[in-house]
Amino acid sequence: MLSYILRRLLLMIPVVMLISIVVFFIIQLPPGDFISTYAAKMATGGEIMDDAAMQVMREAYGLDQAWYMQYLKWIWGIVTEGNFGYSLAFNRPVSDIIAQYMGLTLIVSLVSMLFTYVFSIPTGIYSAVKQYSFGDYLITAIGFLGMATPNFLMAIILMYISYVYVGDPMLGIFSPEFVDQAWSYAKFIDFLKHMIIPVIVIGTASTCDLIRVMRGQMLEEMEKPYMLTARAKGLSEAKIIMKYPVRAAMNPIVSTLGWSLTSIFTGATITAIVLNLPTQGPVMYNALLSQDMYLAGTWLLFMAVCIVLGTLISDILLVWLDPRIRMQRKGM
């Protein structure tokens, strides 16, 4: 097992390298570059940049070189001195910006992810055990309501409802008066209040997925002959369910679980924009839109590492969960 993991880790290096090249290439694929976006923004402020000024800026930022030159320079900086480059839009080192948004992003994503898993796995099990009961239908209907409503629309509706009934649309993570203050009980309560809408929006969007998958898997497993055997042995129903079908049913969830690693670090982008959450997602979204090469590139590189690592974690978890796979891997 250990050698398998080691091999996979080694394999990561070329894969991530390959991904970083592809990613860097794709970022600069759309027409225009950061300077043209910048010039267009200047124009809205009444300042018109001429060709010469744009050329000067391009040279200053090294954007006049071919993309692979830019890539090599950037990756060289990372490998040799751990320098991830420099954000053109923020005028700050990329690592500073990522660090600035990381804290809140992790909080928001972990809270909503925790909610998603803690809520949906038991619900899925319940839904399967009590198949076709009223509760099952209710869960299904609510789940799909959340899923079929686009997140941004759901967010807008909830914010508007909150505005009409509470007088505050609950934008952002804190009320304006708390933003500057240090953490206190009142601020914590305010934070919780502001988390209600994001948790509902992000939660309903992803719980449905999990509930349905869990439910489907459970139903399948529960029909298997081993259940009959277990029941025949006189084990309690609850024990049987927890011991066998739940474990087996987790398989598809686990096989993509590793990938949620990426979403922990981004947070739901569109939702974050609509709810004005200061998380990583919107920042990266804008970086991609304005072709802020190094910021976007670093971010995507980081995501690539997460994906590759996530796959590995999933694979390991799968083996751990499913003895059948474990047996087979022994040979490796």
Binding site: P30, G45, F90, R92, D96
Partner: protein, 656 residues
């Protein structure tokens, strides 16, 4: 029903009496503040006058007491040189936060306009400029020599004196491409009437509080153009001498740059020089100065203790303590924030009018409609130099432009796009602005399909086999590619295309982001776009009407021809060439009358040719103000030239 009427009249009565009470109270207040300070003092924060007869904000009093800053009269210019800012309604009181929406550091200009203090600023009625940071000016008879007087004893926001040296420093060190990354502004050139050559002005120091600007040839509009091109004609020399490489050496400067977060010294110069109001380290003359990193989720600007203006009672401005800018990622947040009363003053697009109005009471704000100097609220520009020669000939045909103009039912457009407020009209100068032409707004506005058909026939456009779309005379496909910047005017474009299709003109649409649009414009790849122009006075800001460089889509590469000196681009001919001739005459004019005459010529050429087709009259810009925010004039012109909200002089806004 009856009950309702009684109730309504009752409530009307109550509000009326309350209002009169209010006004009476206000009047008394203004009359009394000077004499019986104690009265107001008990009600509000203590406003004590200093020995010199000045008052300052409580938060500054604390600092004075603590010895952090000098007394108020030592912080302001000498008494005669203090600028007294007239208040719009009443003398205000200190305190409060102005929460203002913004989109983060990308939205540099929103906050810039609010806090801007130029050397000379536009008067609120737009008739000319008045001294602001400058105390005054002298000009000789032929407008070649200007002496600009500064205010004695005026200080930067860090307490260092502001003198003529700071102006000279800006001229010599900041206004060069090496530091600033920009070419010299156009206003510093005068035109040789014989050769048409541009010649650079010379600027020298007269004494500590006066600088002289000398032109080789008359430059009648220098001050106005300065107020547009280069509003901040000064920079804190003492500060830059500690950060720029030319003073402290490349290595040291690089250290400073890294400290600020910049990658190299060049960007350090560009950003602290150009977007200086975003950097807390950089002293300014503005009423509010940056307090923290503009990249944070909340950017705060706090009052400048050294601000050079007072109200008529000697209270140092600004009234409002802080401007608090919370980052908003989506336009809907600004709207929701306003509805919820979380924003003190904000400007909105006309499309939000109904929803803002419907919630006016609940949100406890008032919606002010400021005039817009736009030529129309919906319009089309056809690139006169578009690449395809057949299409170019067609666009240059005035009959084609007329056909496109009359092929659209403006009443429908007006109702659907502007809520009926932007009347059916042609793109034209609005009444009250320089260049207004009587009757122009009615040119080609009647919806007349037959006329359009006739015009297109006259041009020689044929029909295709299905009699659905027009083709060129030789039978080849005719189609106009419209480029649209993302998210703008979706509904209008839809309507417009429908009417064009009904007239047999096939259109195609491509949506691009603003950066791409910018590039396409430069490459002359935008055949048509949905945009109007918005200018106050062509003589002051010619860019949209005179092809001087590539910027406005209608003149496409005529602009490149001018800016490259005839090396590239398309040579202007006919009326476009005449526009440029008139522009050169303006530049070489020796009197304001002459300038007005040639500007009018330019406008008349636009009227004759209607290169910019408009469909509905401009709609106002909405300035939405919370009811407890006072001193905001209800009827100003919202123009970039006048600096948006800045034209209302935000330093004298106060929160009740």
């Amino acid at each position: 029903m009856k009950n309702k009427i009684i109730l309504m009249s009752l409530s009307l009565l109550i509000t009326m009496s309350a209002l009169t009470g209010c006004f009476a109270g206000n009047a008394k207040n203004t009359a009394n503040t000077a004499n019986t300070k104690t009265n107001t003092a008990t009600a509000t924060n203590t406003v004590q006058k200093s020995a010199g007869g000045f008052a300052e904000a409580p938060m500054l009093q604390e600092l004075v007491k603590a010895g952090t800053i000098p007394a108020v009269e030592d912080r302001m210019p000498v008494k005669e040189d203090i600028m007294i800012e007239p208040t719009f309604e009443s003398i205000g009181k200190y305190g409060g936060d102005w929460r203002n929406p913004w989109n983060g550091p990308d939205d540099k200009w929103g906050i810039e306009m609010i806090t801007e203090e130029p050397l000379f600023r536009f008067k609120q009625d737009g008739t000319g400029v008045e001294p602001n940071v400058a105390k005054g000016f002298d000009v000789n008879a032929d407008s070649t020599e200007y002496v600009i007087h500064l205010r004695e004893g005026m200080k930067w926001s860090d307490g260092q004196p502001f003198t003529a040296d700071d102006v000279i420093f800006y001229w010599e060190h900041m206004l060069i491409p090496e530091t600033f990354g920009k070419a010299l502004y156009d206003c510093y050139y005068s035109i040789n009437p014989e050769t048409g050559e541009k010649e650079r002005a010379e600027i020298t120091k007269v004494d500590d509080y006066a600088v002289k600007v000398v032109f080789k040839h008359p430059s009648v509009q220098f001050l106005e153009r300065l107020a547009i091109d280069n509003k901040w004609f000064f920079a804190p020399a003492h500060y830059y001498k500690t950060i720029l490489p030319e003073f402290i050496g490349e290595d040291k400067a690089l250290e400073v740059a890294k400290e600020y977060g910049f990658n190299d010294t060049k960007t350090l110069g560009i950003w602290t020089g150009y977007y200086y109001w975003l950097y807390p380290q950089r002293p300014t003359l503005r009423p509010w100065v940056a307090k923290n990193d503009a990249n944070s989720d909340r950017f705060v600007m706090e009052r400048n203790p050294y601000f050079f203006k007072t109200d008529s009672e000697g209270q140092q401005l600004p009234y409002i303590d802080r401007i608090v800018l919370d980052k908003m990622q989506d336009p809907s947040h600004k709207l929701l924030g306003m509805l919820a009363g979380n924003i003190e003053v904000g400007q909105f697009d006309f499309k939000d009018f109904t929803v803002l109005k419907e919630n006016e009471k609940k949100g406890n704000y008032r919606v002010l409609t400021w005039k817009s100097p736009a030529w129309s609220s919906t319009g089309v520009q056809l690139n006169q130099t578009t690449e395809d020669p057949k299409l170019r000939a067609l666009f240059q045909d005035i009959r084609f432009r007329e056909a496109l103009s009359v092929a659209v039912d403006r009443k429908e457009v007006s109702e659907i796009i502007t809520n009926g407020l932007g009347e059916p009209a042609q793109a034209s100068v609005s009444e009250g602005l320089p260049g207004y032409q009587d009757g122009w707004n009615k040119q080609w506005v009647e919806y007349d399909k037959a006329r359009a058909e006739k015009l297109l026939d006259e041009i020689g456009l044929k029909w295709d086999a299905q009699h659905k779309f027009r083709t060129f005379a030789d039978g080849s496909d005719l189609s106009i590619l419209i480029y649209q910047e993302k998210g703008e005017d979706d509904k209008f474009i839809e309507l417009l295309r429908k009417y064009y299709h009904e007239a047999g003109i096939r259109t195609e649409l491509k949506i691009v982001d603003s950066g791409t649009f910018f590039d396409l414009k430069y490459a002359n790849k935008v055949p048509a776009t949905i945009k109007s122009v918005s200018i106050v006075n062509v003589a002051l800001r010619p860019d949209e009407l005179v092809p001087l460089r590539v910027i406005t889509p209608w003149f496409g590469h005529y602009g490149l021809y001018s800016s490259s000196g005839g090396k590239e681009g398309v040579k202007p001919e006919g009326d476009v060439a005449q526009i440029l001739e008139n522009w050169d005459k303006i530049k070489a004019s020796t009197s304001k009358e002459e300038i007005a005459k040639f500007s009018d010529e330019i406008i008349k050429l636009h009227q004759k040719n209607q290169w910019i087709i408009g469909y509905t009259a401009p709609t106002p810009t909405l300035t939405v103000v919370k009811n407890n925010v006072k001193n905001v004039a209800p009827d100003l012109v919202s123009a970039d030239e006048f600096r948006g909200i800045g034209v209302a002089h935000p330093e004298q806004f106060y929160i009740e």
